[in-house]
Symmetry: C2
Subunit: 213 residues, 2 copies
């Protein structure tokens, strides 16, 4: 408490663990108000944002006023591609009150160029995101709530079980379902013996029920 308040975050978000200390040194925690604009299309990227809490979106607004959301970050980086680009192609907006970690883009690029270990870690992070996103796309293409649930547990969980880190309601967002549909599908699966629930832990039955009965 007696230490100065501008001290760097002592225990950063686990997702940021691979950042080199020098980069974490210049990281800044920022609080965004709902509706606040972080950057506009055409701006030069000056910071890379890592969402800690809330929701930041990457959105393209058309001449006709249509809004197309390109990314919805509720945890993790917003617009990784801005590292590679001299200009933003979309707007960045806080959809609700949010907390993020801002990394100066110059320092980030410099660290990437200078630090081979960091480069490797960044590359690993990128391929991991690709893997997750591909799985998510396959999941969202399934057209029943039950299939999406099973797919999620199989692809994001460990050994046919998953520990939910958030409310069921926000899980519904990830699955592209309304929370009502998810609650109902979970209840149906549990009644059918296809899953069991222990608090935040959801486990798949090892042998799926045949469609009999």
């Amino acid at each position: 408490m007696s230490a100065p308040e501008n001290r760097r975050a002592p225990a950063p978000h686990p997702g940021l663990g691979f950042l080199p200390p020098a980069l974490l040194e210049c990281a800044q925690a920022v609080t965004l108000a709902a509706g606040e604009v972080l950057f506009r299309a055409g701006d030069r990227p000056e910071r890379l944002y890592f969402v800690l809490d809330g929701e930041l979106i990457l959105v393209r607004v058309t001449r006709g006023g249509r809004e197309v959301v390109l990314q919805r970050a509720r945890s993790g980086f917003l617009a990784e591609a801005s590292v590679e680009s001299r200009r933003y192609h979309c707007d960045g907006v806080a959809r609700r009150t949010s907390c993020a970690c801002a990394l100066p883009m110059g320092a980030f690029r410099k660290a990437l160029a200078a630090d081979a270990a960091f480069r490797a870690a960044w590359q690993k992070h990128l391929t991991g995101e690709i893997r997750r996103l591909r799985a998510q796309s396959e999941r969202l293409a399934l057209n029943s709530a039950a299939e999406r649930i099973v797919h999620f547990i199989e692809s994001e969980g460990e050994g046919g079980a998953i520990e939910l880190r958030q409310s069921v309601k926000s899980w519904a967002l990830d699955l592209g379902l309304t929370h009502e549909a998810l609650y109902r599908a979970l209840a149906r699966l549990e009644r059918g013996g296809e899953i069991t629930r222990n608090g935040a832990r959801v486990t798949l039955a090892s042998r799926p029920r045949a469609t009999s009965r």
Copy 2:
């Protein structure tokens, strides 16, 4: 025909353009039969596959015999993450007769380590994939065919228009729709004046119709 069959591909797929010549030298064109297994979970990655035609999938098979598709590659790399990993975590299977380009993993990693330009290009490719996949996930979370179409054109096209490189039917796969639903939605949008179609070119009307009438 008189030339040896093991000649290297003379004009590789545009998606492979960033590969250094040395790596392209040892690329092999492979033809996979429908159902053919490329690798099993637990295998050591020996080649990185780039799909030219057909469909390769990354699939996890559970003890219960459930099949969960993690990736469906109809064009582009299969399992980029295998570059970072000593073992596959899924099976790789050709879902139908397919043609792919196989890059020896050792040479690929070696080139990554030795060639800074290639490393940068690979990183750029990875971030580009992330951008595309995030947009795709947002798109698949939309629950009307019309919204997905508009989102696709806005995010994958240029200036509110897109040149389709494939049949409408296979576009439907990307949009997570049946082909019937896509045909109907396209016809409805065209009748409503929200899009126009010129052969393979689909253009958004600049000002979206108000919901009036």
